[in-house]
């Protein structure tokens, strides 16, 4: 029943992350929330991986490693964008950024 | 040399203009004369290959695919670069080359606003690639690619060099045709999946009929019908045509009328009917009905026009009605008539649009009410207009007759199993159409050419036909007369192919 607790932890982290992504106006905070979501997923993957025996056990960890790498890259690009937005607008308020309005 | 051309002649004929267009891309925009020369040379070279094809074509076996090539192209879907010509495609291929050359010659000092010969001529060349390619393609995907290739240059021609409402007309033309193409490609795919995992036309002709159930075939034919009928255009899918023609520059109108409309009818003869003969059989009475409605309707539309160019555009609806009536009979006589009608309409209506363009150049209007006395101010232009009007109304001895009368003749005796009474009714209605044709054409001629010049233009000095116009027009006028007197020149090429393809239906 260990896995339940891992999954609950993941779910809690995920919900916090979603809240952060949707509700916060600060771009940096939104990026951090995205990290939370990704890490929630990582926890889930590790938990599922641990359930398995044999060679399959490693799969979850491999995926988690990939996600960590991608997340690092993503944060790098994201922060760069936020920085540029800040330079242009002297604000990182995402509700003001609507260049894609159709 | 001959061996080389045997293998590569058709490919050259299709892609030489593209080479020309590429060369033009690297020449700076300002050097207009170089552009004109490059364009002319590349069309002439392509035409020269065409002449070689004409001389080396085996007329005794015109039902066989000649100068054929089949190379692998898109292997995943088993689509091949399969090209070749037989007696049905040869005349149209030659017509397409011939018209493009004349259009380039005519363009010499007739560039519409906003000028830019480089872009204009390059588009013309790309257009020729598409047209030539459509007539040689023996693979459905290849056909589709070429068929669609002509859309873009024409879209830009209308949209950039067109008249007042060019954008509306260009978009209408584009969307209308694209809509048909969408259904057409669906049908192509259906043919592929149901008909034997091949896009090869000759193979499909062999196997598709046996593999596809009648109901499915009816639907597939319906899709093909939409694709081709819009291009023809048949009533009631014709409304893009008058707008496109009216707004297009002269050269665009000429190509549109002379070649582009033929892509639709060619599709019927080359693809839809031979591959799905039984479905065609079921559809034919409806096609014939729409064709005769188109004949009368187009003529009535013409009578209501006040604009010279729009009138000629509407007359295309009527003339293509005759072509479609010939096709709908599904008999060799009717199909021969249709092919003849296509070539004749290409020459005659192409000429009429040339004249309309020249009138517009001189008077800056095409409103029939404001014109008049053309014969006084520019007698040669006026008589050429009269000649073409006579050819267009189907006067025996000129090419138009052989598209019209044999279509009427064939409607008396459609292919076995179709309602004779129905087609004979079509025959009579189509005959009435010939009188209406005389009506609108002569009425137009009387008001533009007869009488004295209106006060508005009385003092203008109007140039009669000049050099490039003579060069561009003389071959077409000669073609109209020669084909009118010696229809055998064309029918001898088409008949064996038509007999081979259609006598089994």
């Amino acid at each position: 029943m260990l896995i339940n607790q891992f999954l609950l932890l993941g779910a809690a982290l995920f919900c916090i992350g979603v809240y952060g992504v949707l509700a916060r106006k600060n771009g940096v905070l939104v990026l951090m929330s995205i990290e939370l979501i990704l890490n929630a997923v990582n926890i889930n993957l590790l938990a599922f991986g641990a359930m398995h025996q044999g060679p399959a056990a490693i799969t979850g960890q491999v995926f988690a490693l990939f996600i960590i790498t991608v997340a690092a890259a993503e944060v790098g690009v994201g922060l760069a964008i936020v920085l540029l937005i800040y330079r242009n607008r002297t604000s990182v308020d995402l509700s003001e950024v609507d260049l894609m309005k159709g | 040399m001959n061996d080389f051309l045997n293998d590569w002649g058709l490919t050259l004929a299709v892609f030489l203009p593209l080479l020309g267009a590429v060369v033009m891309m690297v020449i700076p925009r300002g050097e207009e004369d170089t552009h004109k020369i490059v364009a002319l040379v590349s069309t002439l070279l392509s035409g020269a290959v065409g002449v070689w094809l004409l001389f080396n074509f085996d007329y005794d076996h015109s039902h066989k695919l000649q100068f054929a090539r089949s190379d692998s192209w898109i292997e995943v879907i088993n689509s091949r670069y399969h090209i070749g010509i037989d007696g049905i495609s040869l005349p149209l291929l030659v017509l397409s080359m011939f018209i493009t050359i004349l259009v380039v010659i005519y363009s010499w000092n007739h560039f519409p606003e906003p000028h830019n010969p480089k872009a204009f001529l390059a588009l013309t060349l790309v257009l020729e690639v598409g047209m030539n390619g459509t007539f040689v393609a023996q693979d459905l995907i290849l056909f589709f690619v070429f068929f669609e290739l002509v859309l873009l240059p024409m879209y830009f021609m209308i949209g950039v060099w067109g008249g007042e409402q060019r954008q509306y007309a260009a978009i209408k033309f584009f969307l209308f045709t694209l809509f048909g193409s969408a259904l057409m490609i669906l049908s192509f795919l259906a043919l592929y999946f149901k008909g034997g995992q091949t896009f090869d036309m000759p193979q499909l002709i062999q196997v598709a009929q046996a593999n596809i159930s009648h109901n499915t075939a009816l639907w597939i034919f319906g899709g093909l019908f939409m694709g081709f009928a819009i291009k023809v255009p048949m009533f009631p899918f014709h409304t893009w045509l008058p707008d496109a023609h009216t707004q297009a520059p002269t050269q665009g109108s000429v190509i549109l009328a002379a070649i582009l409309l033929k892509l639709g009818t060619y599709g019927f003869i080359r693809i839809a009917i031979p591959i799905l003969p039984e479905a065609a059989h079921t559809w034919a009475p409806w096609i014939g009905g729409l064709a005769v409605v188109g004949i009368i309707y187009g003529a009535l539309g013409c009578l209501a026009q006040t604009d010279l160019k729009r009138l000629i555009a509407f007359s295309s609806v009527a003339h293509m009605g005759f072509v479609m009536l010939g096709i709908a009979t599904l008999t060799p006589v009717g199909i021969n008539a249709a092919i003849f009608g296509m070539v004749a309409h290409g020459l005659i209506t192409g000429m009429l649009f040339f004249i309309a363009g020249s009138v517009k150049d001189r008077f800056h209007t095409l409103e029939i009410r404001r014109l008049g006395g053309l014969l006084v101010q520019a007698p040669r232009l006026g008589w050429i207009l009269g000649f073409c009007a006579m050819a267009s109304l189907g006067l025996p001895g000129l090419a138009g007759f052989w598209g019209e009368f044999p279509a009427i003749l064939s409607a008396y005796s459609p292919a076995a199993g179709m309602s004779e009474a129905l087609f004979r009714t079509y025959m009579v209605i189509a005959s009435v159409g010939t009188v209406l044709a005389a009506g609108y054409l002569l009425w137009m001629f009387q008001r533009t050419a007869f009488g004295n010049p209106p006060e508005e233009f009385a003092d203008h000095h109007i140039h009669d036909v000049h050099g490039p116009e003579w060069l561009a027009w003389t071959p077409m006028l000669a073609g109209i007369v020669v084909l009118g007197v010696l229809p055998g020149l064309l029918l001898n090429i088409t008949n064996p192919a038509v007999m081979a393809a259609f006598s089994r239906i």
């Binding site: 992504v21 159709g102 | 409304t239 009535l300 009427i408 003749l409 009188v435 009506g439 007869f450 009488g451």
Partner: protein
Amino acid sequence: MLEHAWVIPAITFTSFWLILFFGRRLPKGGSEIGILAVGSTLVLSCVMVAQWVGRAKTLAVGHGEEIEHIRGPVDNTVRWFTSGQFRVRVGTHVDGLTVVMLFTVALISFLVHVFSTNYMEGDRRFTHYFASLSLFTTGMYVLVTASTTLAALFGWELMGLCSFMLIGHWWEEKPNSNAALKAFFTTRTGDIGLLVGISILFWAAGGTFDIAKINQAALSGQISHTVLVVAACALLAAVIGKSAQFPLHTWLPDAMAGPTPVSALIHAATMVVAGVYLLARVYGVFWVGFHIPDGGFNFVAAVGATTIVIAAVLAFVQRDIKKVLAYSTISQLGYMVMALGVGAWTAAIFHLFTHAMFKALLFLGSGSVSHSVHSFDMVDDMGGLRKPMPKTFATFMVGSLALAGLFPLAGFWSKDEILLGAGENGYKVFMIVGLVGAFMTAMYMTRCVYLTFFGEYRGHGHPHESPLPILGPLYVLTVFSVGAGLLNAPFTHEWFGKLIENETFFHAGVATHDFSVPDALISTVVVLAAIGIGYLLFFQGKLPRGVTARQPLARVGYTFLANRYYLDHIYTGGVVGGISGPIARAAYWFNQNVLDGIVNGVAIVAKKFADWQYKYIDQGAIDGTVNGSGHGAEGLGGFFRTIQTGRVQQYGALLFGATALLALALVLTV
């Protein structure tokens, strides 16, 4: 030469192009080429007549024991094209009918050419005029030498084109171009029938355009009667249009807008007789289709008979000398069509031949008159011209009497044969109509001659006799108008008839009749009576409204008439006073307003309908649907656009919301 009949149209066709391209640079404006070309075809056609006469009679025709030997036709055809399994040939078919027609056309055309050199001198388009004449003549040559219906159609339409060009020769003036258009449309309307008829016969005769085979198939019963009736009706429509029969005759009087020599050519030898020729050529179809040998009544004869009367009546009320002649032509064409309808084939062709001579004479004569007085109005600008123009007067008199059918001039013989044929073949009613027509013809020509040549000169200036190029053709035609009739007279043993009667004629078994003196007497008396009454009416100016009681001369004439027609004094009182007065005017009114009105009305309604259709159906409904689908797509896009706020977080919210809903759905359903 009989095998090479194609040379004849080829010569004039070449001449057309030569005149068109080089005519302007020649001293005589191209007329010399035209005259040379037509002159040589005249010589060649004479050679052909001679060769035909000298041809051995080798072809056996007839039924059972009545085998007769005639001269076989000469065919010369080549492969033209192949369509489907049908091999279509083109070429010439020469028999007696062909050579006679060739001669007639060549002669009239030649004289018209000569006449025109002077008449059209200084014209704005002298060269064009001669080019068109050459092409026109080519058209008729093609028609009469054609071995197939398809080739005949070529000649037929070529003439339509040329008549359009020549009637509208002075196209700067609107009425002229209107007349040209009207001629083309009206004949083209009839041509619907020709296209349909040719198509039907092509399939019915087993895939051939060959006229001889079509005739054979029709006569041998190979083609079902229903098909033949439809085909015959269709072809009759073409004849009605081209030969200006009732009710499609209205274009012909308007066609007078063209130059006078053209009228002579159109009326005498080409164009309008093309219809009659076609009827005679594919006679087998009509013969069987309309039951011609059965007698009583048939459609062809009825059309002809109606036309005779309708047109003759109209000729009374014309002021324009050319219009009198135009209506007279319609009426005479009615005779020919009626003759074919009643089975008098030979008589019809013979009448075509003689009529060509005297009608050309009359038209050229009227041209000579107008050349002198510069007008065609008999009432206002002519009168008393016999003194200044004695030669024109004399020739015109001969032409008029020949047209009236007075013994022994050309018209007498041919008209008499038609009436005889109608009577003997069981078409008595039509014989009477023919007599009435003859009566009226004589009378309106009397009026015409009176108004033009007698009384006081009412015009301006000083009329003068025309020069030789104009008078020459008149003299030649005068000779033919006097002598042509004798070619088929009893004392020449019906030489003309023997010459033209062809295979179809014998195969069908068309009846021939010997000259009958009583019938000839009756028609002569009718004509003399008409001239007499005409004399009283017009020369003496005495109308029969009660004046006969006081005027002895009029009373004599009246009594004379009443004695010949003892059955009906109502006829003399009513017809003479009535026809030339109110009835004719009413008929003319009907013609101009109702018939012409219908033609114009149909055009207007068609135009209105076309406008309506264009405006509401094409631009409204059909185009509306097209544009509507565009607008629909645009509206939908506008709605979706509002969701597109550009805020990333809102997109995220939507994404999560949607995922959550989907997850919920998954949980609930699985």
